[in-house]
Amino acid sequence: MNAFKKIRNSANKFAINWARFVIKNKWYVLIASIVLTIALGLQGTMKFDGDYHVFFSESNPELEAFDALQDKYTKDDNVILVLSPKNKNVFTRENLMAIEELTANAWNTPYSSRVDAITNFQHTSAEHDDLYVDDLSYDSKHKSETEIKAIRDIALKEPMLVNRIINKAGSVTAVNITVRLPGEDSAVEVPEVMTSVREMVEQFQQKHPQFEVHISGMVPLNTAFFEASMKDMGLTGIMLLIVIITTFLLTRSLQSTVATLLVVLFSIVSTVGFVGIMGIKLTPPSSVFPTMILTLAVADSIHILITMLQKMKKEGLDKYDALIESLRLNFMPVFITSLTTIIGFLTMNFGDVPPFWDLGNIVAFGMTMAFLFSTTTLPALVAILPFKKRGVKLISKNSGHTLDWYRGLSRLVIGSPIMVTLISFGLIGGLTYLSTKNSFNDEFINYFDTSVQFRSDTDYISENLTGVYNVEYSIGSGESGGINNPEYLKKLNEFEDWLYHQPEVVHVNAFSEVARRINKSMHGDDEGYYKIPETREEAAQYLLLYELSLPFGLDLNNQINVDKSESRVTVTVKNLDSPDMIAFAQRGEDWLKRNTPKAMHAIGVSPMLMFSKLGFRQADSMFKGNIVALLLISLVLMLALRNFKLGILSLIPNIAPVLVGFGIWALYKSQINTGMVIVFGMTLGIIVDDTVHFMSKFLRARREYGYGPERAVEYAFQTVGKALITTTVVLVSGFAVLSTSSFALNSYMARITLVIIIAALIIDFLLLPALLIITSSVKRTKKKYTSILYYR
């Protein structure tokens, strides 16, 4: 007896003993698993985190740069309310009164620190030696027609307002609420702000039905993240239903369905406990974990049950014997496929996006529990529940024509393996080439599909008023008070002008504009003085005067630092995709390098830029993780099959589906997001199962029965063909459910996973057998030992 056989035997013996133990102690096992589930489940909490910051690891350099900028000026988020009066003219007494009222109410928003509107814009004007600084439209109720006309003329010429607070036509305006969240618990603070804003807007619309209101901004973005998490968690219900139906259709047994359902529910409840114990706050990517666990865990149960039922029906074994036999045959495959899946999910930790670390760890834990429950609770339940022996013929009837289908497929491959291989390689090659045509795009607004209110409101705003994306530069002067240096101001002014000449730019908010405006007001509103002041003292003293005239909340602290050594330039841009966004920010940085002294050089930062670079950063960091996943999983495969050559060969059907998936994606969308970066490691752990099963059956036929490669392929088709289709159907339905998510990080990930899983099955049915035939054509000595992997 050789060493391999020993292992096989010991593995078999272990599985048999395991099964016997479980059957003997069925009640204890069941009670123990219930107790374990309840104990874990009681620790469970479902906390959500909607703050967009969760997508960035603490060491993320873009986040660090953005935080540094916010620390220098003000750290805040916003809610923008966009008002579109039906009469297409903001400047009527009635409309201005309504806006004034809304602005006043907006100050009551929790954590608000500033409210900007057309009415409270601090308009500066001069009369002789007096400087007037006042709300553009205060007490609108008592304004005459001529005054309102004057307000309109001022507003539509004011660079601080046009394309930011009001559109060029004067038909759409905004009230921008700046909030300063304490950041202690975003799960409390964000909904607090949003509830208050939504109530305020509702009351406003009841009182002033002439306005259409759209809501966007960073706080609504966070809310949309929150709501996406909850909604995607809701998909669990649909998946549960699919699991019930699928299990019932495949097993035709109510008891089996109940047992399976309990196993997956136990797995999920325990995992919820894990989430609570680890203190993980759920985010949209990690909130899909119940659906994922359902999808992946149900396969284990189904394999064990189908084998058992078939042993009972076809071979007429009684329940306990069939159960022991089923566990003997399935224990190792279930263990190995669970292991590879867990490895695949754990490699998400290599990435740079924390929500995916959570997803990976949660699902990995869930799969561990699913393995445990399917090999303990499931057999215990089956042992307890009554299963009747039924007629032998029932199943074989409907498998009759499918068998023909497998035979046709195997004939095709056996008949012309080289042809199949060449065509497959051609297609894979072509799609691989196409897959390089994908480009990263993490426009976070587009994470939400158009069915989400936040997305449609935001689209409305970018179409009708202003851009929703921005880039910010903190431009230093190199000395305390240096922002009043005319040299600095002139360079800043040039930068502002240059920015306005860029086609992407919608609006620029720069301190040079403030300097010009005050200079003009200090010279009797003479347009000739709408330029940078001549001397540093003038600039500094005008600024002092101006700052003394500003009201609460409308100061310049968000634009200049305390030391007056740096000022902030905020560039609002059109909707750009990630590569364009990065290129634009870079162009700004380059301009500063070429045209300004060293102190003024600055890097562009903003949430949009952080997201734009996220995909690239994730891809870079996941690259290592993917290599590790590939190595580990190949190693597991080699050990399982105990064949180095086939282990290497398996790389082809394991890697090719991902390439095919991304190739097809290039034809479909050609833009990929951060969520899709993880699919390589994740799908590898899943699709490798197909290869393992097919190859192990092929090997078994060669080794045990001494079949030639062609017959061995045929044997593999007959034995595992249906099982592979079954698991693929379950996986496809699970990911199909996820692909309906309105959140693109999840739906795109699920869609490409769908493609990859289907591609994997096709490749395993065509290319893999063809390769097996071609590579085994050299005559080999018959060996008697076989894989530890059995399948039925």
Partner: protein
């Protein structure tokens, strides 16, 4: 019978409310009275601004005040640093009723500009002090409600009369054992959330009657920024007159 009871309860409530208002006003008046008669004073100040990272920026000022009884006080502030604004000065006439008058002298263009603004709620030279926190505290600028007595501290809520004020209320703690000097003020913003706390410390007694704090610390709880105001000295023997508080005087300062 029920009606009578209700009337009694209601009138009792109204009475207590009215009493709290009266008591608050009384305390504010007592504080004002205690400070009466100082006539004029000059002091030099150092203002230290800190942001949430602890970055610091300093300003040096000189403040002269002239006491007026029938209307609000007059004051003159001269900026000595930063260098760019050296010599810039502001002249303010506070009024018991209506908006204050304010002028600014800009040495760079050698002209006096009148600031016509109702805005008193913005930050004073980028600090956490609003102009309204620093201007003369006239009794008429607030309505009052007595809150509680806490040992030697009398706590009064004050509601600004000016609709453009940045606050809904201030909670002021007076020290009844020390001529009703102010120990602490809490500022509540427009949504009635605690915005800032101002703490007075290092009190000295001048001329045996006038308490003046040498250190004012304003902490913004929302932005986590902070401003310290150090009064380096007080001079009550300068004998300033109206002539020192005119637009011409502003240019000379």
């Amino acid at each position: 019978m029920k009606k009578v009871l209700l009337t009694v309860v209601l009138s009792l409530m109204i009475y207590t409310v009215a009493q709290a208002q009266d008591r608050g006003l009384e305390i504010a008046k007592a504080a004002e009275n205690a400070d009466l008669g100082f006539k004029s004073s000059v002091s030099t100040l150092k203002m230290v601004l800190k942001n949430r990272n602890g970055q610091v920026s300093e300003r040096a000022l000189e403040v002269s005040t002239l006491e007026l009884v029938e209307d609000g006080d007059k004051s003159l502030i001269i900026f000595n640093s930063p260098k760019d604004v050296k010599g810039t000065s502001t002249l303010t006439y506070t009024h018991k009723q209506g908006a204050d008058d304010q002028w600014l002298y800009l040495p760079s263009i050698k002209r006096v500009k009148r600031i016509s603004s109702n805005n008193k709620s913005g930050p004073f030279v980028g600090s956490e002090f609003a102009y309204e926190d620093l201007s003369s505290q006239e009794v008429e600028k607030y309505t009052y409600k007595f809150l509680k007595a806490d040992n030697h501290l009398l706590v009064v809520e004050q509601y600004p009369v000016d609709p453009k004020s940045g606050y809904t209320k201030r909670v002021v703690s007076y020290n009844k054992d020390a001529e009703y000097r102010i120990e602490k003020i809490e500022f509540y913003d427009r949504k009635n959330a605690l915005l800032k706390t101002l703490t007075y410390s290092g009190y000295n007694l001048y001329k045996g009657k006038y308490w003046r704090a040498s250190r004012l610390n304003m902490v913004n709880h929302q932005s986590h920024k902070e401003t310290l105001l150090y009064f380096l000295n007080y001079d009550f023997d300068v004998h300033l007159t109206d002539d020192h508080f005119t637009q011409n005087a502003l240019k000379r300062s």
